[in-house]
Amino acid sequence: MALLEVRNLKKVYTSRFGKLQVQALANVSFSVEEGEFVAIMGESGSGKTTLLNILAALDQPTGGEVLLGGKNMGTIPEKALAAFRRERLGFVFQDFNLLDTFNLRDNIFLPLVLAGHPHHVMASRLEPIARTLGITDLLDKFPYEVSGGQKQRAAVARALITHPSIVLADEPTGALDSRSSDELLHLFGEINRQGQTILMVTHSVKAASHANRVMFIKDGEVFHQIYRGSKPRHEFYQMISDALTVIATGGGTK
């Protein structure tokens, strides 16, 4: 069974008095296996962010369902949703979303504190993650004292520390310079090789080329997808780039 299954997902935004309806997701179905690193690509307004918000249980779909580990997320009661989110999902955001009032260590601890873990458990979990991400020496610093790349690595640590089933990343390289982007993407690859499932939304071809599989969304539907297989990265990059060109020039209009 797939780790994440999305079936016939639909989302329609209605303006306040119901005059105007905008369809963000028309009919999206796909599945993610455990250990996969999937990138979702699409232009602005294609419905990527809506999709990610629904997967993150921050938004409810108008139709269809999402199953994580066989559990239908639509059936989780409101009260248990926050706990579900922090135990099963890890988030990495474009703008890091670190809290200014905490140093990096406390930022990383945040989901565990909310879950009520004792301090020694948090400390022992942090140690290997911080080492992998190379932020062991930065833990006592505050977000305003470190670079963007370092902030994003702290955010990744925060996503990983709960040992989530899946990490959802929303344009994680969007606010980073190219060197920091490369480092972060390598880290994603590394984490993925250790068995972590990752779902990343991006419109950077370079970022997508680090994934095992790339899905393209257009007009609220999964339009096309390609697998990397054993191809080298530069070749995969070319394939993604070609696919985007085809989509952008309208060659693939159904």
């Binding site: 909310l114 879950a115 009520g116 948090m122």
Partner: protein, 657 residues
Amino acid sequence: MSRAFYAKLALTNIRKNAQTYYPYMMAGSAAVMMFYNMLYLRMSGEIGAMHDSMTVRTVLFLGCIVTGFFSFLLLLYINSFLIKRRKKEFGLFNILGMEKKHIARIMLIETALTALVCIGLGILAGILFGKLALLLLLNILGMDASYGFDVPPRAVIMTAVLFGAAFLVNLLYNVFQVHVSKPVELLKGGNVGEKEPRTKWLIAIVGIAALGAGYVMAITVKSPVAALYEFFIAVMLVIIGTYCLFTAGSIAILKTLRRNKRFYYRTNPFIAVSGMIYRMKQNAAGLASICILSTMVIIMLSSTVSLYVGLEDVLRTRYPREIAVMAYHVDDEQIGKLEAAVAEIAEKKGVRPQNPLSLKYVTEVAVHDGQTFIGGRGARYTDKHAALFTFITAEEYNRIEGARAELSEGEALVYVEEGKLPGDALRFDGFSLAVREQLDELGLAKEIALNDLLPNSYVVVTAGEADIVRVRQALYGDGKIGIDYAYMYHFDTAADRETQISLVSALYSNLPVDGYADGREASKRDFLSVYGSLFFLGLFLGALFILGTVLIIYYKQISEGFDDKERFAIMLKVGLDHGEIKRTIRFQVLSVFFLPLAMAVCHIAAAFPVISKLLAIFRMTNVPLYALCTGLTILAFAVCYAAIYALTARTYYKIVR
């Protein structure tokens, strides 16, 4: 761009910022109303008809100054808050192509509109409520009110000018703020990454020391005169201590809490403590101000209320009998003349003195230097070791107290009314009196009204006049000095109020010797006009200060709400649910909210002894009554405070959500 365009834009701006602008306008109107009312009362013709209207007018004048000053500051404070919030808006206008002079023009229209609304509404409300305030004041003073309705134009003009000036200052400040900043900075507004505050141990320690010293001074104060003297120092120390503790002490405590890992790493403390460290950095001064303001409101209200309520008590302490006649520097012959004159005048008024008490005595002030009492003309009343001596002869003592004391020369009976005796003898320079017995009770001490002002006060019974003369010669260092008696004659009349008052004035103007006559009923009017107007002022300023406190807290909560909005949005994404958010918010808001109040209650408790002593100067010695008034005032204030809390917590949560 047309004129109408600016006006329209200004209107839309005000409407868009309703959450902060409407309270501003309401507060402005309320301040205008209160100031106008004060002026109106001061100028109103009806008070002129009152007995002793000067006192009332002086108190009201004081009220005008405080009200005006406080209102002015309050408007400036709120404005500085508003403009900080709106910088982004003006930055956007700037970037969209509006020049700064255009923005200034919009600001001008906005300010003019706001000022018009505030001053107009305020004066209107002032005219409506002015009469009500007047009725309240007259009622408190025990006067009858007429039912006229007047609007003194001078009060209207002065109010309009003062608040017009306040709004003008605000406008200039705002234009200046926009003028000196760059558009990009305006856009960013307040959201600059803030550094974590450092722990300032030195300031924290200074705070603890100042507060401790202030408290000790207030608690250990000995006498009313010393109280008056030390009270201001204590107040200063406590104010300094409060500011230091709120700014540095709070951060030191929070950081210590953060270091305790088992306490800190739990949901509520985790979010609250980390947030508070930043909150304290920005708001410590504000919270300290709220604390001081609350303390002042409560002390002012409780003391004026207890003075007013305890008026009868005060009069009874001040005048144990209805009529008091006092004479200075008299001998037996003059006393005889005086008694005859009093009897004659009383008879003319149809009064027969009842329950009379007469006493001749000698008072001296001396300062104890550790060995002896040094005195005479150099003795200062404010000295800590100053003592008031009231000397009476054994003959007088036996006559009044119905005792049968027999003393030989050089011996004395001593009654200590205040303070302590320095040893078993009263040593003067070159002469000393052995204390044969220390009296536990002395009925006539209550009649001599001056005694409770000095730190030490003794009534000394000597064998005869010769010993008193010896003491005086020792104190003044002059072997030729003789006796100098004061004489008091107190009696009841069983007459009505009017008769008593006319008797007192007849006595006063016909005394054959140096002295004065006074009476309970005659003073009641004077006391009532002083305490009554102070009481009214206390109520009035209390209301004004509560308004100020409410506004400061309201705006504080809103600005913090905006700051916390982002933080809670992030926590929501990371896995905090709405219920938990609500709980942590409540925890955080509650602690910030009630910290100043708790501190204020501490201050009041510490100030209690010194204020009771100060009230003794006003002859208000009923401490349980003062305690009751204080308790009730704190309770009333806490209820107001809780209401504000409920209101602002809701607004805060709405913003954060």
